[in-house]
Symmetry: C2
């Protein structure tokens, strides 16, 4: 059986939503970041990066949200969830998730995790100050250019949807004016109406 | 015919190496970042993010290195290049490239692109100062834990190899002591011995 390592209010929510969506049989292990459980030797043996999510499979451990989402969907989901029927569609789905991982999530992380990239307290403050601007800009580009609707890339629910939902659950507290993002707001409600999302949020929210 | 938009000394090198490796028929368009060509309206119409690489295909534009690499390999390369024969291997390859995109490349970007995440000049200096440490740590984890050899994930050349090569071509000037990374050094030489790498470096190096 799969086992997923997660933490509350982390990006691991996206993978847990997808596990619920495809009705996979899985065990959830919630790490307490406030106690630094991600840095314990037992967890470093699972994931030397000390991050979540990590997915334990029969073949070994998987990390990184874009990789875990594709793995879950390929194993338990429909071909549409990854665009498996068409290399271009598959790549567009990967492109979207890669943007979330390497640009949007990174912009958000400068609010509380600035110590990854600088030591001086003033620098951490300067990073925090810019988060409303960078998050408004990056999710604004999703609203204006990338989001097709009703799901992220059109008519089919894909591995992009739980990932966007998870990141958008942070943006109001990041200082983004969500009233200017009607498509993303409607997507958020659409996701919240799904029992799989509700189940995952209840476990990790 | 495919057309790739790239810039010198950018991560676009990884995609150009792979295009050469699979002997794809493609056109190369080199943007001059020193003239701000990535911000011209003509290029923003191609990629509203104003970044490289971007790959123009018959079906539309693709961006984000992990997505472009998989697309090129799925279309022109062998199944081994993406691990298409096994969802777990496929996911391990995506995991590695996702780590390069969202952690290693991001750490590097704090050296010259700190203005993405803070405005204060002192903050940019503080970010720059920490780059040797963050790059040593992140590529050190590849050396110690993730790299299998002779290629990144073992016996087969995959979409991870041109990407790792590209990022490792920056690390010496990022302040990383490469003499402590014997596996990555040998990988770099192994990559440089391939005609495809040499051709791409000659075009973009």
């Amino acid at each position: 059986m799969l086992k997923i390592f997660a933490a509350r209010q982390s990006v691991a929510l996206a993978s847990v939503i997808l596990l619920e969506e495809v009705e996979a049989d899985y065990e959830l292990h919630v790490l307490d970041f406030s106690k630094g459980e991600q840095n314990l030797p037992e967890y470093r043996a699972v994931n030397p990066k000390g991050r979540v999510p990590a997915l334990a499979t029969e073949d070994g451990i998987l990390t990184e949200t874009p990789a875990i989402l594709v793995y879950i969907a390929q194993r338990f989901g429909s071909a549409q969830m990854t665009g498996a029927h068409d290399p271009f569609v598959f790549a567009k789905i990967q492109e979207f998730n890669s943007y979330l991982a390497s640009t949007v999530h990174v912009a958000h992380a400068h609010r509380f995790r600035g110590a990854r990239w600088a030591d001086a307290p003033e620098a951490l403050e300067a990073m925090k100050k810019k988060v409303p601007e960078t998050m408004t800009q990056t999710v604004g580009l999703i609203e204006s250019d990338f989001f097709k609707g009703p799901w992220v890339l059109g008519d089919a629910y894909t591995v992009c949807d739980p990932y966007l939902f998870t990141i958008c659950s942070w943006i109001e507290s990041d200082g983004v004016d969500t009233s200017k993002l009607p498509k993303l707001q409607a997507h958020h409600e659409r996701m919240l109406a799904r029992p799989a999302t509700q189940a995952a949020v209840a476990k990790l929210g």
